[in-house]
C-alpha cells in the first residue's frame, strides 16, 4: 500500500510539473504573437527588448517555414498568430498563395526596404538579406580564376567543386533565379555541369561544406555568406574566402529573412509596429549582425567582418518571383540528379 501511494505521488508529480511550468506565463497587455522560422537564438533578445519597450509580452513558437504555414492554414480564423517570420522568400511566397498574410500599407517600411526585397502588395517585407555566392580556398584558388556561378561547371573545376544538398531551399532559390535569367534549358545544362564537377556527394549543411574546402576535399563551393562569417569569427585565418558571383551581369543571388502580418491577426497594429521597429537603422544593424547577414535597409552598414568581403551587386529580381519558380527549379534538380 505504501508502495502504491508512493507510485501515485510520483505519477502525479510527473503530470503536474509541466502544467505548473505552463502557468508561469505573465498576463499583460495584448501580447504580440509570432510564428517564426528564424530561430530562437536569432530573435529572442529582440523580441524581449521590444516587449519591454512596449510593456507587452511577445509570445512565439519556432519551427521550419512549411510547418508554420500549415499550422496557420489549419488554425484559420482562430489562429493566435499576428506575425509570420520566414528565412526563405519561397516560404513567404507560399504563405501569400495560401492566403494567410494580409497587405500592409506602411510608408516607413516602403522607404526603408528596397522594392526587390518586399512584396509589391505589402504582404511581406525583407528584414535581413542573405547572399548565396562562391566560396573558395585561399590556399589553392586565386580570385581571378572565378567569375560566375555557371563557370563553376567549367572543366578546370572537375573534381574540385562542393555543393550542399539540392533538397535545401537556398540552392533551390538560386536555381529558380537562374531559370528566370537564363531559361530552363540553359540552367539545366549548368546544373548538370556542376554535378559532373563534384568532388564529394552533396553536403547536408553549408558549414560542413566550408570545412571541406578548408580541409582540402574541394577548392570551391556555393554557400550563404553568413556561414563563413561565423567560421571566420570563431577561427581567425580560416582559409576560405568569399567571391561575389555574377558581378559583370545579373548580380549575386540574394534571399531574405522577412516577415508579414497574418490575415487573422488579433493585434495587427502591434505587428506592423514591430516590423517598422525592426526596419529602423539601429535595429536593422543588430537584426543582421547576430547572424552575419546584410541589413535589408540599404542605408545600414553590416558587421566589419561582413563588410570586409567587399561590396557586391545583388540580383535585383523581386525575391518573391523566385518562390513561383521554385517548384520548377526542384523538378530541374531531380532531372539533373542533384541529390
Amino acid at each position: 500500500m505504501v508502495l502504491k501511494l508512493h507510485r501515485a505521488g510520483w505519477l502525479a508529480t510527473l503530470l503536474l510539473v509541466p502544467l505548473l511550468l505552463a502557468g508561469t506565463a505573465r498576463a499583460a497587455g495584448e501580447p504580440l504573437v509570432v510564428y517564426t522560422a528564424r530561430k530562437y537564438q536569432l530573435v529572442d533578445e529582440l523580441f524581449q527588448e521590444y516587449g519591454r519597450n512596449r510593456g507587452i509580452e511577445v509570445k512565439f513558437v519556432t519551427d521550419d517555414g512549411a510547418p508554420l504555414i500549415q499550422r496557420l492554414i489549419a488554425e484559420g480564423a482562430n489562429s493566435p498568430a499576428d506575425l509570420f517570420i520566414s528565412v526563405d522568400a519561397g516560404d513567404l511566397w507560399r504563405a501569400t498563395e495560401a492566403g494567410i498574410l494580409a497587405p500592409v500599407k506602411s510608408p516607413m517600411l516602403e522607404s526603408a526596404i528596397p522594392p526587390h526585397l518586399r512584396d509589391p502588395q505589402g504582404r511581406w517585407f525583407g528584414l535581413a538579406v542573405r547572399a548565396r555566392t562562391i566560396a573558395y580556398s585561399t590556399d589553392r584558388v586565386k580570385p581571378a580564376e572565378l567569375s560566375t556561378y555557371a563557370a563553376l561547371g567549367d572543366a578546370r573545376w572537375k573534381g574540385k567543386l562542393c555543393l550542399r544538398s539540392g533538397k535545401h531551399a537556398y540552392n533551390q532559390s538560386l536555381v529558380a533565379m537562374m531559370i528566370g535569367d537564363l531559361g530552363e534549358a540553359a540552367t539545366e545544362r549548368v546544373v548538370r555541369s556542376w554535378i559532373a564537377n563534384l568532388a564529394a556527394p552533396p553536403f547536408s549543411s553549408d558549414t560542413l561544406l566550408l570545412k571541406a574546402i578548408a580541409a582540402g576535399q574541394c577548392d570551391v563551393g556555393i554557400v550563404n555568406s553568413y556561414y563563413l562569417g561565423r567560421l571566420q569569427a570563431e577561427t581567425p585565418g580560416f582559409p576560405v574566402q568569399i567571391f561575389w558571383a555574377d558581378q559583370k551581369a545579373g548580380g549575386t543571388h540574394v534571399n531574405i529573412s522577412g516577415g508579414g502580418v497574418t490575415r487573422h491577426a488579433k493585434n495587427r497594429a502591434e505587428a506592423i509596429r514591430f516590423l517598422e521597429w525592426v526596419a529602423t537603422p539601429a535595429i536593422q544593424q543588430r537584426f543582421a549582425a547576430v547572424n552575419y547577414e546584410f541589413p535589408a535597409n540599404a542605408g545600414v552598414a553590416p558587421l566589419p567582418v561582413v563588410a570586409a568581403w567587399g561590396k557586391f551587386e545583388p540580383n535585383l529580381v523581386n525575391v518573391g518571383t523566385i518562390g513561383r519558380t521554385q517548384p520548377a527549379a526542384v523538378r530541374l534538380l531531380d532531372r539533373a540528379g542533384w541529390r
Binding site: L11, L14, L15, V17, P18, L21, A22, T24, A25, K39, Y40, Q41, L42, K59, F60, V61, T62, D63, D64, G65, A66, P67, Q70, I73, A74, E75, G76, A77, N78, S79, P80, G90, E97, S165, K167, A169, Q172, A200, P201, P202, F203, S204, S205, D206, T207, L208, A212, A214, A215, G216, Q217, Y227, R230, N291, Q326, P327, V330, R331, D334, R339
Partner: protein
Amino acid sequence: MTSSQRQSPTLAAITVALPMIAVVVAVMQGAAGADAELWAHLREYVLAGVAWNTVILVAGVVAIAMALGTSLAWLTAACDFPGRSFFSWALLLPMAMPAYVLAFVAVATLDYAGAVPALLRGWFGADLWLPPIRSTGGVIGVLALAGYPYVYLMARGAFMTHGARALEAAQSLGLGPWAGLFRVAIPLARPWLAGGAALVAMETLADFGAVSVFNYDTFTTAIYKAWFALFSIETALGLALLLLLFVVVALALERAARGRARYSASDSGARAALRIELTGARAWMACGYAALVFALGFALPAIALTQWAWQVAPLDLDGRYVDYALRTLGLAGMAAILCLALAIVLGYATRRAAGPVAQAAARVATLGYAVPGAVLAVGVVTALGAADQAWRTLAGGEGLWLQGTVFALLLGYVARFLAVAHGPVQGGFERIRPSLEEAARGFGLGAREVLARLHLPLLGAGMGTAILLVFVDVMKEMPITLMTRPFGWDTLAVRVFEMTAEGEWERAALPSLAIVVAGLLPVVLLTWRMERAARTA
C-alpha cells in the same frame, strides 16, 4: 454473456485507435488534392530511386540491428565473460542517444574534414584513402547502432526466461551450445525478436533527422521535399499514404509468416543460473565485441558531445535548461503513462473481442510508428484545427480550443508511439495462458477484476519496458513537438532543432547531451528492473 458485453472490447479497441484514425482521415483528405502532374514527375524521376534506397536502408539496418541485438543479448543473458554484468545494462545506453545526434557526431568527426581522418592523414600522408562515412554503409551503420537496443531489450527478455531452459533442452538432446542457440533459443524467442525488428524497421522508415545529415534520399525525405520544396502538402500526404500501405502489407506478410503458432509459456521459476562459461580467448573476444559496440554506439559519441558542449556551455547554459529538461521529462512521463494505459486497454480488448474488427483497430492504432512524425503532426493540426473551427461555428467566440494545447501534443505522441508500448504489453499478454483466465472467470470474476488481479500483476516487466521505451522515444521526438507545442513549451529536442537548423551543430551538443543524460535515468531503471526480474524469477 450479453451482446453489449461482447461488443465492449471491440468498442474499446476502436476508441484507442481513434487518434490514429483521425490522423489517417485528415491525411487521406489532404492527399485527395494531390497534383496529378507532380505525381507524373515523381514517378518518372523520384519514386523508383527512393523506394530502392528505402528498401536497402531498412533491410540493412534491420539485419545489422538484429545481428547485434540478438548476439549481444545471448552473450549477456546466457554466457559469462569478463565485464558481462556491466555490459548487460551499458549496451542499452545507445537508446538514450537520438539517431540524428549519432548521425551528426559521426559525420562531423569521421567525414573528410573531421578530426579523425585529419589525424590519420597527418600520420599516413595526405593521400590516405578512407572509406567515406557519408555513404549507404555509413547511414546504415549509424541507424543500426541507434536501433539495436530495441532488439537487444526484447531478445534479452526472451533469453532470460527461455535461455536456460533452451540450453537444458539442447543438452538433453545431446546438442552443443551453438545448436542450443540457433535451434532452440532463437526459435523460442521469435515473437520478441520479430517485435524488436518491427520497431527498428518502422523507426528507420520514419527517420528524417539521421538520413538528412547523410543526405541519403528515402521515402521520408521525398515526403518532406514534396511539402517543403514543391509546396504541395497534398502530394506529400499522398506519398505518406503510399508509405503506410507498404507498412500494412509488410506487417501482414510478417504475421502470415509467423502463422498461428502460440508462444504462451509459464513463467514459473524455471530460470536456472545455467550460463555458458566463456574462457580464454573466447571470453576476451566476447568482451571486446561488447566493448566495441558500446564504444561506437555510446561512449565515443558521448565524449565528442561532451567536448563540444564544454566549449559552448559558458555561452548557452543557464536556468532555461532546467525548464527545458523539466518540460521534456514531464511530457515524456505523461505520454508514457497514457500510451501504457491505452496499450493495456488495446491488448486486453483484442484478447477478449470476438471477430476481426478489434484486431484491425489494433493494427491501425499502432501504425503511427512507421509514419514520419511530421506527417502525423500535419494530421493532428489539421484535425484539431477543423474541430476548433466547427466548435467556434457552433458556440461562437474565437481562439483555439484544442489545437496548440498539451492535448494536441499528447494526441500526436499517442498516434506515433502507441506501437512502442503495444509491443511489450502484447508480448506480456501472449505469455499469459488463456487457461488461467478461464479459471479466474470460473471463480466468477468480471472482466475488469480479471484484468486488475490476474493480468496486470503478470504483465509487470512488459509494462515497465513499455513505459520506459515510450519515455525515451518522446524525449527524442522532434517534428510533432515542434508543430503542435503550445507557447513556451520548448523542450530539449526543440533546442537541438533550433541549433541544427542553423547549421550550428557544436552548439546543438549541449541540448543533445542533456537529452542523453536525462534519457539515461529511465534506461538505467529499465535495466535494473530486468536484472531484478531475472534474480527473483
